[in-house]
Symmetry: C2
Subunit: 524 residues, 2 copies
């Protein structure tokens, strides 16, 4: 296991400053010593990223697509070497890691298509009107151009799909931005395998040196330095509210403000409407026991709050949910810190006034396992307690039992911004509950009817984002094709020479993309 | 002159706390005492904006269009009352104020069309694939929804087009966001006339109380309170770097981060290529003497820096430019502060090492007039002097004379972010100078060939923005149809009921808008 930093085409590391990875499932230190990046290495990565940008921003969409597809091929070629290391480092089972690898590869190929097709640049042309009165109108054309080097903070909970070659890296590279990855301490080996795959793909497809680097660090030191570096033009982060807000706050002190796309915590509230509970309570209980414990509750869309009205149907639901949770087995969490925080935060919730444990896995947890549990609280107690609105990252959910419609409305009004909100209901009652649903919609990035929030489809219409504190920028998504839009800024070209215009803006539309001509869409 | 604050449908003011306006052209205090908004009035404006948003966000695009068109009608109906007051308060001549009124009205009608047409919401639909393996694909649809109440800081240099009913207000209202205007101290009367026009238009078209308010303040106190208010969801500002950065920094301390769209200073560099100087130097000198002094140099796109290579052609150019500037008359600037700062900053520039005054209006300045002048400096002196890269707001421009191509390239590389960059050149030399032009392009929001940067066309393809410090968010424009995009965030609707979907996302496209269906554009 080569634990050196990846700095463009070379590897670098000072042997005396190393860290290791502890496997949560094997409960031992894994092979491989990972070199902590020095200030000089950080500086070098930034300098070559800056000079790579000068070339890479003008590399064609189809060449960028080749690069992204080559990364996907190199990742698949790693085969069991990658799968086994990711399993050991994350504690996640083989099926999940292989599924995540599939998602990662699909995302890379999807952004390859987006880059190759080319319409993402939002090209627009206003034709000249030389004889307009009182002033002539000039020829003006605009399109998105890449921002510059992007720092990607990798996520612990998706060691592949939201990490080294995950959606952030894939969309930034597709947009024409070099990427500097801050490796996650929990999966440094997985990161190294994937970073080397990217390094090989860059070499094979002739990308400029510095289009990709990956640096190892311990604690927040490297991350802070990356955020403050003047060469960085955007930051992408997936993780905790604490981590994301620290990056946002540090970034706000930069001389030059830059976009910070931090996707952070969320409790993903679910509204359980009356008829749905009455007609279908047991099924919903089982469906949600699955969603709450999926991936040991370590999804950012994990449903941490189930809200409905008290009564006989609610009692049955809670009882069924409790039973279903009792049957779930504790599973290994991502690392020691996450496991300890889960226990601490869950116990803090359970110690709050009016909170009652109503179901817990019958099996006790060992090692870094998280033990699934659910609890109840009244609407009144929930509303007045700020702590209960905070995420418990792991297999835990709180059922809020409201006295009446007004209290349920007040519960929803008390929510902070969320990645998702869900409504479980029969069609007629959904229509009758238009008001509370609209309130929920105003708090979330995605609203779901009769489903579970876990499972984020990678597609054109996905929005994985939401008002603060779900993210630091509700206007952009980190999943789906539009994630590429985070990394471009418009540039207008006035009275420009055809020869110097980017292909996307030339007469006759040689790129064959969708664009606007005097405000009208078309392949014009 | 009613100087009270406009708070939704009512007027409010404590008679003891008032400010007045001093006319820069008449050199006297104008009639009208303007009530400074109290904390209670600020709070009331915010509360009604928040409750208005609940209604206004669902008001149809065509109703919003009626509102915007009614504002335009009400502004035109003010006729000479508005024109005269704006002239008195700004010192700008009648032709300019009438032209600006036309621009303001056109912008309102343009955003009315954008709201009515409706495609700006970027609707996208991914159809369900219930039998997809291994998991079914859900129906997912997304579109932009309005952010919430927007605070607009009005600009001194465009008392109509970038002020009370200017592009920021028009685009925010078109997007479905209530607006709270911070009136500019220099044109409180113009602001009151326009704010009351908006108030009347809101009443006539049945808009909710609180969709628009306008508050008067003195100094930075009211502005700071507006920025920090939790009900505010976005801020738009046009003005100085100092003012914009203060707003950005204050906003960064908010509990909930919000977008800050500050359009700030710029020196708008112009590259003068050799052949153009040789073949056309005298004409360019006259063209730029006009651009530098247009509107007393008080445009954010004013060309403050002209860069070329030393030599005989440059000497002729400088001599012609100096002569042309000598023939320009001093004119009244917007207010005392701007006039004093112009003198101070110009003299600071002139006092720098190697800077030589080469042309100055033959007429001395009186009152708040700004006296046009131009100076020269060598490329070497420019590069090493940070102060010379700062904007002198007013009729002043600095000609940078470079020793050779390499020095000229280094000059361009030393630029901060800019709203615009311009290249004056013959076609062949433009192509030969591809590298320096690309460096310039990387620093600007709009790049112009053989024109002047002053004159910002209001159209689909305009980008009025640019990398920091030109703006705090290079990804958005404050001029042109896309300015509306600043005020929306995507929301995804998964497995939603048709009855509850916004019209823009319903089956059969009843809104008749452009949208994406499984990634393909069309009126589908």
């Amino acid at each position: 296991m080569d634990g050196r930093n990846i700095i463009g085409i070379r590897k670098s590391g000072i042997p005396t400053k190393v860290i290791n990875v502890f496997s949560p499932s094997l409960q031992r230190i894994l092979d491989g010593s990972f070199n902590i990046a020095s200030d000089e290495e950080l500086e070098e990565a930034m300098q070559i990223a800056t000079s790579a940008f000068e070339t890479y921003k003008n590399v064609s969409g189809s060449k960028r697509a080749e690069f992204l597809n080559a990364i996907a091929d190199e990742i698949l070629a790693l085969d069991d070497v990658l799968v086994n290391r990711a399993m050991q480092e994350s504690g996640l089972p083989e099926g999940r890691i292989k599924g995540e690898r599939g998602r990662t590869v699909n995302q890379l190929r999807m952004f390859a298509k987006v880059a190759e097709e080319g319409s993402w640049v939002e090209a627009s042309i206003d034709q000249a009107i030389p004889d307009r009165q009182p002033f002539p109108k000039a020829d003006i054309r605009k399109m998105l151009r890449p921002l510059g080097p992007v720092v990607v903070f990798t996520a612990s909970n998706f060691p592949l799909a939201f990490s080294t070659a995950g959606g952030d890296t894939a969309s930034a590279l597709a947009a024409g931005c070099p990427v500097i990855v801050k490796a996650h301490e929990s999966h440094l080996g997985t990161n190294t395998h994937v970073a080397m795959a990217i390094q090989r793909a860059a070499e094979k497809t002739g990308m400029p040196d510095g289009v990709f680097s990956s640096l190892n660090g311990k604690g927040i030191e490297l991350g802070q330095k990356l955020v403050m570096h003047p060469a960085v033009k955007a930051i992408a982060f997936t993780g905790s509210l604490k981590g994301g807000k620290a990056i946002y706050d540090a970034s706000a002190k930069r001389k030059e403000p830059i976009p910070v796309f931090a996707e952070m915590g969320s409790i993903n509230p679910v509204l359980l409407l009356d008829q749905a509970l009455q007609n279908n309570g047991a099924n919903i209980a089982n469906q949600y026991a699955g969603s709450v414990t999926q991936g040991v509750g370590q999804f950012c869309t994990n449903p941490g709050l189930l809200v409905g009205k008290s009564g006989a149907a609610m009692d049955v639901f809670v009882s069924e949910l409790g039973k279903a949770i009792e049957g779930k087995k504790p599973e290994v969490m991502l690392n020691e810190g996450i496991c300890k925080n889960f226990e601490k935060n869950k116990n803090h919730h359970l110690a709050q006034e009016g909170v009652n444990l109503v179901g817990e896995s019958e099996t006790t947890a060992a090692g870094f396992q998280g033990r699934p549990s659910v609890a109840t609280v009244s609407g009144a107690d929930f509303i007045k307690n700020k702590d209960l609105k905070e995420e418990v990252f792991g297999p835990f959910s709180l059922v809020v039992q409201c006295a009446d419609d007004a209290e349920m409305q007040a519960v929803v009004e008390s929510f902070d911004g969320q990645l998702t909100g869900t409504v479980m209901g029969e069609n007629e009652e959904i229509i009758a509950n238009r008001k509370i649903i609209e309130t929920l919609q105003s708090k979330v990035g995605r609203i779901i009817f009769n489903g579970v929030p876990t499972g984020v489809e990678v597609c054109h219409s996905m929005h994985h984002g939401g008002p603060y504190p779900a993210t630091t920028d509700s206007r952009f998504t980190s999943v789906g094709t539009d994630a590429i839009k985070r990394f471009g800024r418009p540039v207008a070209f006035q009275s420009y020479l055809q020869e110097l215009l980017p292909e996307e803006l030339r007469d006759g539309n040689p790129a064959g993309i969708w664009r606007k001509m005097d405000g009208e869409f078309g392949k014009l």
